[in-house]
């Protein structure tokens, strides 16, 4: 299992713990990651709002970087995955690919449509396999109730993301169970965290964050796990603001996917950057490490 | 119970009703009343297109001739000429109001070939022309801030001293009965497809306006002429547009033969609808069908063309027939689709009842005669919607607001109370299925005397049983159970007029085909059937067909 590792921006900036825990987990599972250091931001859909072809070309270049290594691309951010899956689909049209390749020809090479972007979550299920993952668990997270928070872009629009049912996804629950923990069911698991409008309409975003966190907590969650660092930012860094908006204390630790996996694989919490999360993760960590 | 007053009341907010409302002169107090929100009207389900002689090498006279021939010479030719002459302006005005028509290379409104037409004159908006027109029309209604009574159900016409003075309506959301006074009432309530068990029509198409007018003394014309659309889906009667044939789709039987060569060697799949429906039914009856259907084959059109011109019907075929027309032919069969007949009205939409106007599918003027051409129904709505509005403007000048008695309201309330009072009985749903099945079987594409006579008896019995329906919902708020019972009573009244007309008409013309009288008989039967209400059933009489310059000839495609 060798992948061109597309970090995206957050893992190398505001969420270094995501990068750390990804590397640690990859090593533990025998995955070889070749980091695409020359890869750019995926645009996050934001660049695409104004310049559709610019964002598409940037991602054709990113995919070409992986393709030049002869590898598929692995992402660790739900938003990057959503953007790249869509780019991959759009570039499967010959006319589009030709047009975009003309743009990137002198800027990173040509993309032939061979390299496919896959999120770590999908890699765990499809390539590693749940049975093998379960075998590798050293510290089963027994008794830990984990609320999955998928985030929008790894699920929708389902025309581009065909891994999970957008209304009844199962992949995070399957991984949670393989790690020995218990998934918590709540309607917010497929909802939006509000990150795209946290600058424009903070109050609305905080209502969204607060509602989802409280629902998970009221349903028994000890923590949430999310495959998207942008969701992580809103749910974790902004959690105190959400508490103010909802006028209720929350204090729910938010784990990146590889942090949860790494914990069950017996890795040291510091190797997983668990001390960096803004909402204290020690209540979770203390149970198992 | 309460009362409202408007100068003009328009019943029905589909294309015809809204067009009529938009034509009412400024300063006149007009209100539209509809049992569904305007954009839910069945006009929106029309797919294929709307006809007009827009091009310099076409002419309204050609369009009129095609329509007269299509009508199997039962259409009133002066009305047809008016419709075809006004068609180009009517459509261009809709375009001005924002309808998004598909465009040709010269940036003008694109047109495609359609059944029974000698020239490609069917304008279209992909395969959702009705939807495009309906939404643009409602946008104009919103723009003018027009009063629309949404989800008000017509229960009665208010007639006093031989003059229509308004209506009684049931406000479905609140359950209140309202007496609506008006100087003029325009009925634009659409067709009665739900008389039949399988129909392309929406479940709201229960012919309420026709039935209410009929009971109030307005005659219904040509009710036996029911159009069976050749390509409806087997499972639910949902429509697959004629445009699919206009774009080149072909019909094949179980042997893979393009059977239309036998029935209409020149026009083939684009012969007029009655010809195609009978061809299909014959193939099916003679054992060359596939599971009670024939096959509509569009594979040769290619994916791109289907996605561009016929995307909606592809979705329908995939969803409801489980077949993708890009890969596999779609099983289709004739289904009840359009009501050529309706409330008798003249070229200005005036009914014989003073103060009552009727336009659109609920009226019979008659522009379609014994068979309607595809693309002419959408046209009829906007041409006669406009003419009805204009006629109403002329009519109401100087007229006082009528003052009908309150008893209309209390009578209606009493009838509804009586209906609600039955503690048990027959459910409208079950009876509806029973009647619909009889109509499908006995008053369909092919008809014969004995079968019709039996259907006549059955329809009469069911109409009687429908007087004692069991309405389970006794509440006031949003009582659709009550509404469906009232609708079914309308359906039974109309069914009787359809069967009676079919039984009496001993010839074959257009959509009405008698296996025992397979030829058209102009000498005896080139005349309109008129049905008037009596408590014992419809009383039939006959009226002249108006001719201008088209002499009836043998009709072949």
């Amino acid at each position: 299992m060798r992948y061109a590792y597309y970090t995206g921006c957050a893992a190398k900036g505001v969420c270094p713990e995501l990068h750390e825990s990804t590397l640690a987990v990859a090593k533990a599972l025998g995955m070889e990651l070749v980091e695409l250091t020359a890869s750019s931001c995926c645009g996050a859909g934001v660049i695409g709002e104004l310049e559709h072809d610019t964002q598409l070309a940037m991602n054709a270049r990113n995919l070409a970087l992986a393709e030049n290594l002869g590898l598929d691309m692995m992402t660790v951010c739900g938003t990057c995955q959503g953007v790249l899956s869509r780019a991959h689909k759009e570039l499967s049209d010959t006319a589009t690919r030709e047009r975009i390749n003309q743009v990137i020809a002198e800027a990173g090479g040509i993309y032939d449509g061979r390299a496919t972007p896959k999120h770590l979550l999908w890699v765990l299920i499809q390539d590693v396999g749940l049975a093998r993952l379960e075998q590798k668990v050293v510290r089963p997270l027994t008794g830990l109730k984990v609320g999955p928070f998928y985030g929008c872009y790894i699920l929708r629009p389902s025309d581009y993301l065909s891994f999970d049912d957008p209304y009844n996804p199962k992949s995070l629950e399957q991984v949670i169970r393989a790690l020995g923990a218990e998934p918590v069911d709540y309607s917010g698991r497929t909802k939006c965290c509000g990150f795209p409008i946290v600058l424009e309409q903070e109050q609305n975003a905080m209502r969204m964050v607060g509602t989802n966190l409280l629902e998970a907590q009221d349903n028994g969650a000890d923590c949430l796990v999310t495959p998207c660092p942008l969701c992580h930012m809103n749910l974790d860094i902004y959690q105190t603001r959400a508490e103010k908006e909802m006028r209720r204390p929350i204090g729910l630790p938010i784990l990146h996917l590889p942090q949860l996996v790494g914990l069950a694989l017996g890795l040291r919490p510091s190797a997983l950057g668990l001390q960096r999360n803004m909402v204290d993760t020690s209540p979770v960590v203390a149970q198992f490490a | 119970m309460h009362q409202v007053s408007h100068d003009v009341l328009i019943i029905g907010a589909g294309l015809t009703g809204m067009r009529a409302a938009l034509e009412i002169a400024p300063g006149v107090d007009v209100a539209v009343l509809s049992k569904v929100h305007p954009v839910r009207s069945h006009s929106g389900a029309a797919q294929g297109g709307i006809n007009a002689a827009l091009r310099e090498d076409d002419s309204w006279e050609n369009h009129a001739f095609d329509t007269v021939k299509g009508s199997d010479y039962l259409g009133d030719q002066d009305a047809i000429e008016i419709m075809c002459r006004e068609a180009p302006s009517a459509i261009r005005q809709m375009e001005h109001w924002g309808v998004i028509f598909s465009r040709a290379d010269d940036r003008r409104i694109a047109q495609r070939p359609f059944g029974g037409a000698g020239y490609p004159r069917t304008c279209y908006a992909a395969d959702r022309t009705g939807h495009a027109l309906l939404h643009a029309m409602y946008e104009q209604v919103m723009r003018r801030g027009m009063q629309v009574y949404e989800e008000w159900f017509l229960t009665d016409l208010v007639v006093e001293d031989g003059v229509c003075q308004g209506v009684v309506a049931l406000d479905i959301p609140t359950g209140e009965l309202i007496l609506c006074r008006a100087k003029a009432v325009v009925l634009a309530t659409g067709g009665y497809g739900r008389v039949y068990r399988t129909s392309s029509n929406g479940l709201v198409n229960t012919g309420d306006g026709m039935a209410v007018a009929y009971r109030a003394g307005a005659p219904l014309t040509d009710m036996e002429f029911v159009q069976f659309h050749p390509t409806t889906l087997k499972s639910n009667g949902v429509l697959i547009t004629e445009g699919s044939r206009g774009e080149g789709g072909v019909l094949i039987n179980a042997k893979g033969e393009r059977f239309m060569t036998k029935y209409a060697p020149h026009a083939m799949e684009l012969a007029s609808r009655d010809v195609v429906s009978r061809a299909e039914q014959t193939e099916i009856n003679e054992g060359r069908g596939v599971d009670g259907c024939v096959l509509l084959d569009m594979r040769h059109l290619g994916r791109e063309k289907i996605m561009e011109r016929l995307p909606q019907i592809r979705d329908l075929a995939i969803k409801f027939a489980g077949t993708d027309p890009v890969e596999v032919p779609v099983p289709v069969r004739p289904g009840a689709h359009y009501s050529m007949g309706g409330i008798r009205a003249d070229n200005d939409c005036k009914s014989p009842l003073e103060g009552l106007f009727a336009a659109g599918e609920c009226a019979c003027i008659s522009v379609h005669g014994a068979n309607r051409l595809g693309g002419n129904s959408l046209l009829e709505t906007i041409v006669f919607g406009r003419r009805a509005g204009a006629a109403v403007n002329d009519f109401i000048g100087g007229r006082p607001m009528p003052r009908p008695g309150q008893h209309h309201l209390t009578d209606a309330a009493g009838r509804i109370e009586a209906l609600l009072d039955h503690p048990t009985g027959e459910r409208a749903g079950a009876l509806r299925r029973e009647l619909g099945t009889v109509m499908n079987r006995s008053v369909g594409v092919f008809r014969t005397r004995d079968v019709l006579a039996e259907a006549d008896r059955v329809a009469a019995r069911i109409a009687r049983r429908a007087q004692r329906l069991w309405v389970m919902d006794k509440g006031r708020t949003f009582n659709t159970d009550l509404m469906e019972a009232l609708e079914f009573q309308n359906v039974t009244a109309l069914a009787r007029t359809i069967v009676a007309g079919a039984l009496a008409r001993e010839e074959s013309r257009g959509a009405h085909f008698r296996q025992d009288f397979p030829r058209r008989d102009d000498a005896k039967w080139m005349r309109h059937t008129l049905a008037e209400y009596t408590p014992d059933g419809p009383k039939l009489s006959y009226g002249e067909v108006r001719k201008t310059k088209y002499e009836p000839t043998e009709r072949s495609y």
Partner: protein
């Protein structure tokens, strides 16, 4: 097949509180949710109330929540719902008060649609009769409006909208997609006015781009994409004095410079007011201590020139 269906019912006006009822029915295999509701109403319980008409996904009457998903009952197959979710739960659309059972009050929806002035506005007078010619239009304009004009106003997207759930002011996906239909119509003379009117609170910048509307829409209107198009057109029309538009342009400028988005720089660029920055100082400090605050200036990625070349290139029609 035998099916158990749970339906949320109630009638506030008659004092019947929201509750759920189960029905067991025998239905054919290829049956839709609507067919099943009709069967229940006809044969089991006539009081069950819902709107419906065309049965072919064009009238928009039968929108409701099916297993939590807003969509049309007439084009949802019972069998596939059971396969996906293991059960069948029917509820009325969200965001709108219930009149009875599955019939909701449509007023909140139509109020928002009206707010975008959904009609073609033209300079000049109505054409006189007879109307001699239509306006000319290129087919590509028709295609540009194709998605938005396909809307049947069923309200499923509005029911699914996450921002509408938390913010009463938001006009919602259907109204904004409809607005785009007119912005993209070459016949409409009020393009700039429309973009300006919807530039503020409740307008197209309030969308959180969650794709719930795109996923819910039964006609593939993709309302969110129409909203994004409005944003694009607004910026190009010079309406750049909003946090939203600055967000996009600053995002591009940071990525152009560093190749990646430096999240540490974004808030500073978005909230140039020093008092605002002071408010976030404690949070920023905590993040700094945990190593989560990127430096305000970060060296660019290797080969950043390639990225700049893409961003800077002379654009054609896109």
């Amino acid at each position: 097949m035998r099916v158990e269906i749970e339906i949320e019912r109630g009638c506030p006006a008659e004092g019947v509180e929201t509750h759920r009822e189960r029905f067991r029915v025998e239905v054919p295999r290829h049956v839709t949710v609507l067919d099943t509701l009709i069967q229940i109403k006809d044969d089991l319980d006539g009081t069950l109330t819902f709107r419906r008409s065309c049965r072919s996904a064009i009238c928009g009457s039968c929108a409701m929540r099916i297993n939590g998903r807003s969509g049309l009952a007439c084009d949802t197959l019972v069998e596939s719902e059971l396969r996906r979710f293991g059960h069948l739960l029917i509820q009325p659309l969200a965001q709108m008060p219930v009149t009875k059972d599955l019939a909701v009050q449509m007023a909140p929806f139509w109020r928002r649609v009206r707010a975008v002035k959904p009609w073609v506005t033209k300079d000049g007078e109505e054409p006189s009769w007879p109307v001699e010619r239509e306006s000319l239009m290129e087919q590509h304009h028709v295609e540009e409006m194709d998605d938005a004009s396909r809307c049947i106003m069923c309200m499923a997207c509005f029911s699914a909208c996450e921002v509408a759930t938390v913010d009463e002011r938001f006009l919602g996906p259907a109204a904004l997609a409809k607005a785009y239909r007119f912005v993209a119509d070459p016949r409409d003379s009020e393009r700039t006015e429309r973009l300006t009117a919807l530039n503020g609170s409740g307008g197209y910048w309030d969308c959180t781009r969650c794709n719930q509307c795109v996923e819910a829409c039964p006609k593939d209107v993709k309302p969110m994409e129409a909203i994004v198009n409005l944003r694009r057109d607004a910026i190009r029309a010079g309406l750049t004095d909003t946090i939203g538009s600055r967000h996009i342009t600053e995002f591009i400028s940071i990525v152009r410079q560093e190749g990646r988005l430096n999240e540490g720089r974004m808030p500073m660029k978005m909230k140039p007011n020093p008092l605002e920055l002071l408010k976030v100082a404690p949070l920023a400090l905590r993040m700094l201590r945990k190593g989560k605050l990127p430096l305000p200036y970060h060296p660019p990625i290797p080969r950043v020139r390639e990225v700049r070349r893409i961003i800077d290139r002379k654009k054609g029609s896109t």
